[in-house]
Symmetry: C2
Subunit: 127 residues, 2 copies
DNA sequence: AGCACGTTCACGTGGCGTGAGGGTCC
DNA sequence: AGGACCCTCACGCCACGTGAACGTGC
């Protein structure tokens, strides 16, 4: 599900994949919007993750009309939103686990129930 | 804490308060970034909440260099972030309450503890 | 040698702020 | 009647995309 980050495409291929001018991709790198890997010679290599990010930038600029400063800001906010959403999910799961743990704890103290044999166990401290 | 929404300032005053051109405020309204009330005659009246929003827009455009499309998007994302943060807080509180409720439930079933009188109560279903 | 890469500079377009002109309300 | 409001139009500036020029890597 999480996009592949292995460097793959040189700039002309990447540009064609997303339908952009190669020079535009270089501008994006200068502005810090994207960070393709480089070969030793200095040639940029774009990963699939980079391609996805480029397509997102494309939607923001072409469809929604943001400028690059806005794109930068929005990308950061969206990252924050995603992280907060994950945190919310984790918290929900953790809390459910904690609740069932409380139940489990009480039950462990109460069972197994043994039919009375003249002695009835009612409580055991676990501290 | 939450800003006052009573309509107060006509456009020239509002513009001076935030250091903007009155025409700029009209443009913002056309783009849907801000919605000042109107008098019957059609004169705009800006509230303190409007002033705060204008100052936020000012930071986004002047300091960070966003265009208006970006401002619109960012304002929406920030609203979402705030709402999600509130939801996270509420969930945390609710979950803590639920856990202590579980404890309370078990304790109610177990206490008051009566010294044995020949009959020992061990469990009561609450469903 | 040739092609695609690298960088830098120049041009065109469009978004946005600012101002002027003309009408209306108080 | 005057001043500040309303709206629309025009100008100027700057950001951004595109392309050219020229040098370098493969």
């Amino acid at each position: 599900m999480t996009p592949d980050e292995r460097p793959r495409y040189m700039i002309s291929v990447a540009a064609e994949l997303v339908g952009m001018h190669p020079q535009t991709l270089r501008i994006y790198e200068n502005k810090g919007l994207i960070r393709p890997k480089r070969t030793n010679g200095g040639t940029r290599l774009y990963s699939d993750a980079d391609i996805e990010r480029l397509q997102l930038i494309q939607r923001l600029t072409n469809d929604l009309g943001l400028n690059l400063a806005g794109v930068e800001h929005v990308l950061r906010l969206q990252d924050e939103l995603v992280r907060m959403g994950n945190r919310l999910d984790r918290m929900e799961r953790e809390m459910r686990r904690a609740i069932s743990e409380v139940h489990r704890q009480y039950r462990r103290d109460l069972v197994p129930y043994k039919p009375p044999t003249g002695l009835t166990r009612t409580w055991t401290s676990t501290s």
